[in-house]
Amino acid sequence: MEKEALITAMKNSISEVLETMFFLPLDFPGTHMWDLSNLKKEDTLVSRLSFTGPFKGYFIFFIPKEPASSLTADFLGKDIESISRDHVTDTVKETLNMLAGSTFSNYDDQAVFNLGIPELIDLDDIRGDDSGEEVLIVINTLDNNLALKMVKT
């Protein structure tokens, strides 16, 4: 796993997905803007997706609930008042699915990676999980910080 190439692939993927599907302006402020211990589980949605291929591991996508609802409303073309919890969680999972797939096609379009099914997990489940080499990308958009992390296991 070439870390620099992966960072570039992840950033390109984030730009493609969030700008194409959600028209979100974004930048990458750096990992100093991120502190997992400051996140509150009641305010944050966390989705995880495992993968296998030339190397294996998982992605984790962090998004605060408030922008997740706005993003879902835009995605579905609905008023935010009509958005259900299932709509939001499905959209967050689908977003991670797109981020992961796009990362790999940007990283190496000759390689075949098999993506798992994205799931919503509890923030507490990943605290203290430093089981492998990881890449963290912090995303700033709409006055919120989101993050995409890949962990190689």
Binding site: N97, G101, S102, D109
Partner: protein
């Protein structure tokens, strides 16, 4: 094309694409029935068996049965094997795309995609009338995804 509908309408069960009409198609194909298939295997087959579809858009990455497996099953059915299948995938590896084609996909769409990309694919697969001219061209105002 009068309406594509909500492409990402109800993601939980992936009851996604509404029926839409195609005014410039020939009479036999005046109404194009199209669904995006996703969710559980049982639900997929209920849609396929109970509704007459002209085109299936299916996600590749699904629980229980992935889009490729679904298409292979469709190809075993005397009626369903004639329905064009478009694979929707986040995975852009050349090997996988080749596999889609080898196993009979009419085309594939890589996520994330724009409404225009969907329109172009539909034009390629179904949008020609008897004169061989494209049929789907109504602007984006009807698209609500």
């Amino acid at each position: 094309m009068d309406k594509i509908g909500s492409l990402i309408g109800d993601m939980g069960n992936m009851q996604i694409l509404d029926i839409y009409t195609c005014p410039n198609c020939n009479r036999e194909v005046k109404t194009v029935r199209m669904k995006m298939i996703g969710g559980e295997k049982k639900g997929q087959w209920e849609i396929l068996k109970n509704e007459w579809l002209d085109l299936v858009l299916t996600d590749y990455n699904m629980p229980e049965m992935n889009g490729l497996e679904l298409m292979v099953e469709m190809k075993k059915d005397a009626i369903l094997k004639t329905v064009p299948v478009v694979m929707i995938t986040t995975e852009g590896s050349r090997q996988r795309v080749e596999e889609f084609r080898e196993k009979g996909a009419a085309d594939y769409i890589k996520k994330p995609f724009t409404p225009e990309e969907i329109r172009q694919k539909l034009n390629l697969i179904m949008g020609e009338n008897e004169d061989g001219e494209g049929s789907f061209d109504n602007g984006d105002e009807e698209l609500d995804f």
